[in-house]
Symmetry: D2
Subunit: 363 residues, 4 copies
């Protein structure tokens, strides 16, 4: 219900198709008094934009936000914030020849089954273009969080078989390193290997999957709610709602399975007048509620479904055909790269909502 909205108090609604005139987001429930600057939002959008390197789609999206409501004299007023982004360089001519083919790994088949109608131009709502609106909304959430000194970050942990092991002293440094290279990986050695591999896979007309790690620091205790609205459940929902996302884990995640309880339990310690844990295998929550340690986890993205390699498929009459994407069609060899700032955005949205809801926990 209301499948284009996310969040409870801080509620984001996105709209727009990848090849329509515009896309956008409405943010309802942003507290009054948050300082908003269109340039800051544009800077976030630039981190998501394709066309900047060889490893993202060649579509050029120099996205510029228009703030149509909810901000007065540079501050939010409590009214819904309408963010509009015009679609540029949306070339739907590539989709004509393939519009009657079911595209492997794509949603055109399921949309057609569900709605009986399909906007075949560029993926419609299923396109990664939709995530631009999430990044814009996330930029506002980040401003809210910054007021409380909370910082969020994400980076490429893995592409194909190559795993990164970044070294950093602060989240700020981590972020700087992340966006310094075209694969958004803060481990320069791994980044180099990734670039080499991506060049090769791209040449084959193929694609690779990736894993993004996220982190949030300086959170108060108490965020998240028991039972069905655990912080990790909301995070999982947020991340798994991203196109191409296939897995989510909090803390050490699936790796906890081969540990014993005595190894996996984080022990409480007293440090700098605060209760902390000696390790953070849990990823910053206990019973679904933040314990004050960093929130960490990982998100898996499948290899891009749109590949230049020919694939056998069906047409709308259920007859076998070969799908050969037009040579000029523009697709990322690894969607995870551009998803880094999107994961950051979803993390910021979840934490903002949880922070606001937590104000209602006590008398």
């Amino acid at each position: 219900m209301a499948s284009n909205s996310f969040g409870n108090v801080f509620r984001v609604t996105t709209w727009g198709e990848s090849h329509g005139p515009a896309i956008g987001a409405i943010i309802d429930g942003c507290p009054a008094g948050v300082e908003i600057d269109a340039l800051e939002i544009n800077a976030e959008l630039a981190l998501r934009a394709p066309g900047k390197s060889d490893y993202t789609s060649a579509r050029k999206e120099n996205d510029q936000i228009q703030i149509l409501s909810g901000v007065f004299e540079g501050k939010t007023t409590g009214a819904p914030i309408c963010l509009l982004i015009l679609n540029q360089d949306a070339n739907s001519s590539h989709y004509g020849p393939i519009k009657d083919l079911l595209r492997p790994g794509h949603a055109n088949f399921t949309y057609l089954e569900k709605y009986g109608i399909y906007d075949h131009q560029g993926g419609g709502r299923a396109s990664a273009r939709e995530t631009t609106a999430r990044v814009a909304a996330g930029a506002i959430a980040k401003k809210f969080l910054a007021f409380f000194n909370i910082e969020v970050a994400a980076y490429i942990k893995q592409i194909g078989p190559i795993i990164s092991h970044p070294k950093y002293d602060s989240v700020l440094q981590l972020k700087n390193m992340t966006y310094q290279n075209p694969v958004h990986c803060p481990d320069s050695d791994a980044a180099h290997e990734m670039v080499v591999l991506l060049d090769q896979v791209k040449a084959e007309g193929d694609s690779l999957g990736g894993i993004i790690e996220f982190i949030a620091i300086n959170l108060p205790t108490g965020l998240g709610d028991p039972v069905y609205e655990k912080l990790e459940a909301k995070l999982a929902h947020a991340m798994m709602s991203l196109p191409a996302c296939k897995g989510f884990e909090i803390g050490n995640g699936f790796a906890c399975v081969t540990l014993k309880g005595s190894e996996n339990n984080d022990l409480f310690i007293h440090e700098q007048e605060r209760v902390k844990t000696s390790t953070n295998y849990s990823g910053g929550t206990l019973g679904g509620i933040s314990n004050g340690m960093p929130i960490t986890g990982r998100v898996a993205f499948k290899p891009t479904s749109s590949i230049r390699k020919a694939q056998q498929t069906l047409n709308l009459n259920k007859e076998t055909e070969t799908l050969q994407l037009p040579s000029g069609s523009r697709h990322d060899p690894c969607v995870a790269i551009r998803a880094v700032v999107i994961v950051e955005a979803m993390l910021a949205l979840v934490l903002t909502d949880a922070l606001l809801l937590n104000r209602c926990a006590k008398l």
Copy 2:
């Protein structure tokens, strides 16, 4: 908001503490006309009950459902269904000696931080006892799904390092094999190894993690919604809301990362008058909407936090103390085992809600 409720149209609200007089669930939005039999619900509860083998908690829960509303002459009426389960054999005396200690891996610290109050008897809402109510609600969802011939199943895929590889011809057979052994694993060789390992770990006063695989078959196309309410996002939310759950994946999940797009894409084929895919790496959804193939995925559970082994921790005054659980305290060596039927229940709840919502997709 309303953190004890789950679902949109088919909405479940659970309540009750593990050591209070009773627990229960309200199901609002169950369509009228579903046949309900208390014995069937009790049979599901029995699959979750501890005290049946050496590998689950020794607490005896011979749970019997009381249906207090919403059913008339054996059928649902459209009114909210109140399911009540009395707590039996709830021995909170064990908790007295440790009530002032922060328990590693537990929620008493975070609840105390969030609410300023903590019901120290047996875990309160954070206890796995709460999931009994989910199983009861899930039993009703399964009855709804059965009307449409949809079947759900789950089983132990892994405990510690031991991975199972069950062979089965039908989901019915899979279910039968699953509940035939004390570790709920349908691969008898793996099950045997798991039993040996659990005996050893239990003797050490320690615990192990596990992975549950789930499957749903005979689904129509069209379940789930674009963008924020993708079927896999709802499933992730559902599963990550379970106690001790640390990870979720749909289809091949994290494993997709090391595949190329040409390997990972499921190709469309025409079979028995229907559109199918030659493989099912996606796990039954495309763009968040069911494609008619089986829904499959996995859920990771951490090793039980409550272990007999002594652990260093803090008391409420932030002073270091040793936590030594009383010898008679009752805890599962591997929480994943009893979570099998709970995962089934959550799967049924998500699919029922999606099936109802899908009725609104077209004119």
Copy 3:
């Protein structure tokens, strides 16, 4: 969706049929730390109970609340509060003879049309019995409001053509006068006239309608939200959800129509260091948000549909029949009387929810 729940943060879910084993309410989102005493809730239930005078149904409901969860050592813990009330003296034998008749003014026709099934015993969910659970939940909301010194009250403003004009110095005094007489009207002269009229109507086997006026004082400014969640919209929703309710107005309501703007505008004045208005025609809100003045309004209830007088109707085969309620059937001659404490409860629920939500308005 979730039609048996009310409220956003402070969310009440009720369940149970009038002639089933029990009814109850779950309150999710009550902040931790509210002092709860079952005796206080029972005292509220007693104000709603029938069987106390000649002017309410003869069914005896000596309702006693059972608190099954969410309260620990006398205070709420933040967990859902389960309130259970056993049904007593529920005599469904009267309903046998009329179970195949469409009852004028009743919901059995529409329930049957909607659900295809109808629990013909005593009205099911459409019975006023359901409102007992609202009163219980409202009693907890009142405890929350009392912490902030907010008081709510309601009383009979009108029965049939008789209008009351109570004189009171405080809301406390008003409440005392209200519950001193069997018609819950704080104007003793009007109350006397109402009693005489009700005796006469009852003797005729007929019934009367009534109007309840409500008031809340000591509210902070800022409760309620712009546009679709205006405080008066939530109040209207709350009141119009009561059985037999046909109209709602805030402030001077429909009477404002014949005033001019210059007469109807409340002028701002400065008094005791606070901004007030010289009159309160608006009923305490401006633009849907509380302005600190008393919240006031009125709710209209139709004459009881169940009357002893014979009425022509149809049976389930659409054949004309005469409906003659059994002589022993028990119905209020004026449902508004017992609705006084229910209106208070709904007022308390709306204000509690608005007070909690308002915590999220500013940075």
Copy 4:
């Protein structure tokens, strides 16, 4: 929570300030396959537009809808529909001189108290300009309803003391008569009297209140839900969320109070193979669910708060000042007139949502 959204399945979110660059609506959950024509929406907007007669504000709003998403080849696709309307002729210069005054009957005081910030230009979200977006969304709901042959209408029932008694054979005829005169009253005699009175009041620099009656026909039985989501509760919520609305009633509403049960009960009759009622005092619902008879009711609007007459008030420093609206400021002498099409829109939104939700009532 999400106070700028309305509806469950068919969910409308509006945004935009009266003097910002644009306003708009997002409609999420509109079923796929509804035919949409921008010209039809513009025609509805024209019915709300001021500046067309002497009896509405002089601000010219020749509103033209832009459909930015959700419609493909003339039909809805199931994706969110973004409707954008540019603000024209928004002259905020009039507000400068009065920006530091609390305006009687207005929301600037309460917004300032709630948010600490106030966009003083033209009323922001509290402006009736917001309702333009509701009309646009309502136009789409009407298209959905038309598919099921359901028609909605509204008209001026009363202005000041003048009551209309329209005579009509069909809802179509009623609608035609309504929009034929400048006061949107289908009783030409009453309309003439209203015009005379409004001329006089306008000359005084004052304003009048009004009552709108609404009607919907050809509804199926079963719309609306028991307990908290009764159809009349949703309608009341919808109408009371309109600016200046002070009262709501369904059926005979407050007038039922002076009737006896035997007079007020609608008797069931068998007519044209259908179950009907001989009268329709209930206004088309029983127990909150539509019974197939016309849905009818009334909504009260206060006299416009903005009047040319001087009024005493406070400034932001709580000092007494005189508010004298600038001579060129533009306000309706009676806001109810333009609210006619808005009430129609809200009626259409409520019914559309109820119709969709009702698809989930039975197995």
